[in-house]
Symmetry: C2
Subunit: 346 residues, 2 copies
């Protein structure tokens, strides 16, 4: 089991629920917008929010944003360790930085002292674009060079007494990402930040992340996830929720089971399933709802569901926890069924 690491008021690792994170597409110095974004995403299910720090004003804005949101905030630093120091002073709950990028030994030491004194964690790691030259030459571009690059960064931080770490090893190639996380999971017990980087547009990005994150979580690898998408952060959070829900790792989401439909289906099951999914997304309570195409398979499968519907020639059968509740005509279906959903969630 991974070690526990505290990020603001949230603890990841050590068997805690997998935390969902996302990253802002604008600068944190836009304080009001940042607060609104954090609160919106938090309500949908986001647990941790990251902002890239581009200048001193960004670094100093963490405290201001924290006045308006409870969500833990991560400062993403590239190259300039002084921005890390300012972000820590500014109130960031976690720093994302690679010691190898800082340059001077003196800079690394200062950052290490600052995070220790602020008692905040650091996320360090590698990605296929930042594999250490030595490892690249020795191993080629694979899980070993990617993993060892991250572990070298870990060693640097440990040298300065920092053991409050989260690790990532990101690749856009899904099988490589999976192997790299498996590699570091074997070699360390720090919590892992899991994701597939530069995953593409929302469509293929969701698929790549679902495979990569899913294959790892199934094996118990991963403590916090980010679904990187070229899309609004809201879409990242919804995708992350859906991945965790599909793996039964997030149990406050409604679940919809819908029939793939075949030649036996005699009603517009697809449209009704989509409508039902949209209806269910308003709720953050656990309920299992089935929308089935036909009476042949429907009742057998819908038995599992808290609420189910199976279409027939002239009407629809509604089930509740394995028992037939009522038969309704198609024009009464939506109203009757959603009323049953409401009753079930009350």
């Amino acid at each position: 089991m991974s070690k526990k690491v505290k990020i603001g008021n949230l603890t990841i690792g050590g068997g805690n629920p997998i935390a969902i994170q996302s990253m802002a597409t604008f600068q944190i110095k836009k304080v009001e917008r940042a607060i609104a974004e954090c609160n919106k995403l938090n309500q949908i299910g986001c647990d941790i929010m990251r902002f890239s720090v581009t200048d001193i004003e960004d670094a100093r804005s963490f405290g201001l944003v924290k006045k308006g949101t409870d969500m833990p905030l991560v400062a993403d630093i590239h190259f300039d360790y002084k921005l890390a120091l300012e972000s820590i002073k500014g109130g960031a709950d976690k720093i994302r930085i690679n010691p190898g990028n800082i340059g001077s030994e003196q800079g690394v030491k200062q950052v290490a002292l600052a995070v220790k004194s602020a008692a905040i964690p650091v996320r360090i790691g590698s990605n296929t674009g930042s594999i250490e030259k030595d490892f690249l030459e020795k191993y080629g571009k694979n899980e070993i060079s990617l993993g060892e690059s991250a572990l070298k960064q870990v060693a640097i931080m440990e040298k300065y007494g920092v053991d409050n770490l989260v690790i990532s090893v990101k690749a856009s190639d899904v099988p490589l990402a999976i192997k790299a996380y498996e590699y570091v999971a074997k070699k360390t017990d720090y919590p892992l930040h899991v994701g597939v980087t530069e995953a593409g547009t929302e469509y293929s990005g969701v698929i790549k992340n679902a495979i990569g994150i899913g294959a790892l979580l199934v094996k118990g690898i991963g403590d916090t996830i980010r679904v990187s998408l070229s899309a609004d952060p809201e879409r990242e959070v919804i995708a992350a929720k859906s991945i965790l829900s599909a793996l039964n790792l997030k149990n406050d989401c409604p679940k919809l089971i819908a029939c793939p439909t075949c030649g036996r289906c005699e009603w517009d099951c697809m449209s009704f399933a989509k409508k039902t999914e949209e209806y269910l997304q308003r709720f953050s309570k656990p309920i299992k709802v089935a929308v089935m195409g036909c009476v042949v398979n429907g009742p057998g499968e819908a038995k599992d569901a808290d609420l189910g519907v199976a279409g027939g020639k002239s009407g629809v059968v509604i089930f509740s926890k394995g028992q037939i509740l009522k038969t309704v005509s198609y024009d009464q279906l939506e109203q009757t069924f959603f009323a049953e959903v409401d009753k079930c969630l009350r």
Copy 2:
């Protein structure tokens, strides 16, 4: 490695490429529509098409549809073994039937003789709605009862000398589906038809299938896949293609790498990534294209790509196989970049 099984002109198992299948949402007796659907889906990347056989007219239509398409056709039979016999006579390339559903020993024997004489395979299996009562009582609803239900069907067919089999063990619960396939993969070397059943609407269905199919294929489990969705079969094929492509198991698809974008991004990278993806979908040739948000990370990652673009303040840098090709202004970007794509694919 799994055994090889021939379905029409296609061989699955034994290390052959993973075949993509889908299922029609209408009856095969609509012959012209069936031919058009097969040819459309085949062009997108579908390898095998299944039709549910609801009556004798459906059963007799396989030969007629095969006159208009090269795609192997599967007859999906429920309960009535006479429809299986007619479908085999009618020219189906594969039968999907559960011997346990046929009822009479005599019926099973007749189907077995017919598939042996036609030299076509049979897909048999279980799903969570059809677990054998004995196994359900003994083991509960888990991977063992699901797996053993399928293996019992296998034993029945083998008893009558049929060893031309494909197996499925479908569940809508993703972790259960993964465990059930792992269970049967250990116990048999017949090729496996992998998928998550009743997976929901397109959005959550794609996620559940990506996780389930992905986690199995990563382990080398699975010979043919179907992404069951409450959506048009075209969407099933595109999702299946995307899953295989993400795992580097289908190499004739273009690949797009897009930056998730952050505060450093100063151009509309998301829209351009989406536009690029849509442009690339016309091609069925292997090319790796990167659309990156900023010059900080862009060039490092885009180096991997056959063609890459990284946005800056006043213009965009285009890379080709690691080398800077040119810098263009934003208003020239689309035209110039897609022309480079065309050149690359020529």
